[in-house]
Symmetry: C2
Subunit: 217 residues, 2 copies
């Protein structure tokens, strides 16, 4: 059986692996988890014993297939719970993270299977992130960041990259939500800001914003 802490390390490594090539550095993990490199080394050794990560000292770590599967399942649970919180318990998309962070560690196969069914086998969480299946397969974003669209291109908002509370609240305020149609009216090369249209309303967003919104063309 897996401890809370072990699960959190696996999850962190899974996320880091997606944006890293080669081994995942001790420091990167430490930073993501707000812990110290020495603690990371300890844990990685432990996970390595359990064959959840590959590890050679000084060479960084990588998840084994087994480790990936475990991590994907934690993320699966996290995202299913997020859907539950938003769809059934009236949470807003900026409120769900902390609670899901706790719920993801509940151990019960039946629970998660039934939850999945109860929610109608959702494919994405409230931020547009794909929900892995039980085997750990993820139908990942073939989507594109808003910032990459050119003048006059159109698309549908399908996800966010940053899901911090402040960013999500900003989006709510602007009426930017998943599923909405969006059109790029103009791009400003100087600061990479762009003027967009959603539902007849036009307004300008900064590069920061456009860089954190996924679009399906």
């Amino acid at each position: 059986m897996m401890t809370l802490s072990e699960e959190n390390y696996l999850k962190a490594m899974y996320h880091l692996a997606a944006v890293t090539d080669g081994g995942i550095s001790t420091n990167a993990i430490a930073e993501r988890m707000n812990t110290k490199a020495s603690s990371v080394t300890d844990m990685i050794k432990k996970l390595s014993e359990k064959e959840l990560v590959h590890y050679k000292r000084y060479k960084g770590a990588a998840l084994t297939e087994k480790g990936k599967l475990v991590a994907a399942n934690i993320i699966r649970k996290h995202r299913l719970w997020e859907v539950f919180l938003v769809e059934k318990l009236n949470f807003t998309w900026d409120e769900v993270h902390d609670v899901a962070e706790q719920l993801e560690h509940i151990k019960s196969e039946k629970l998660i299977d039934q939850l999945d069914a109860f929610l109608g086998f959702p494919k994405r969480d409230p931020h547009g992130d794909p929900i892995p299946d039980k085997e750990g397969n993820v139908s990942d974003h073939a989507d594109v960041l808003l910032i990459t669209l050119n003048k006059d291109e159109k698309g549908i908002i399908v996800g966010v990259k940053d899901s911090s509370s402040s960013f999500l609240k900003y989006l709510d305020k602007q009426g930017i939500a998943l599923g909405k149609k969006i059109k790029v009216i103009d791009k400003e090369p100087f600061d990479n800001s762009m003027k967009i249209r959603i539902k007849k309303e036009e307004f300008t967003i900064s590069q920061q914003i456009a860089n954190n919104i996924y679009i399906k063309k």
Copy 2:
């Protein structure tokens, strides 16, 4: 903030207090929690520091008002989750305990408020146990055990005292469920078994069984 272990001790003490007069003994807690008396002593000291229990060495422990409130809220969460599992996720009443045991420790006021509302503010869990309100008030069983009914008396099944999986499965098999009308056809003084009728069907149950079913007359 309360640790997992602290919460479990408070809960155990709350349940023990209900069936004990005077202080709760170290041994009783140890037995209920499958731990050792020495560990209990340690924890009680810690809880005493936090003013969650009253404690004088060698004299047993008792929950403070604050302690009772915390414990009742954990039980509240446990029972609400049980309702959720049975009503929404198709768990049977003998399957819910272990999962609820985990879910009861999730920390989010909003979560539990919304869950309560989502379930329609249930008053009892699937075993007929009352769900405490947020202030820790419990509308406890003014109900009576089946064993106390006399020949020809009637009532409605409203709860179970033992909620072990094996007992619940037995009840399912016999068609004994909450809400059913029951009539005592006969009592055998020799072994305290009784013949009962539920929905036109008559059968005999042992003292053991009759002693673990709550009836509203």
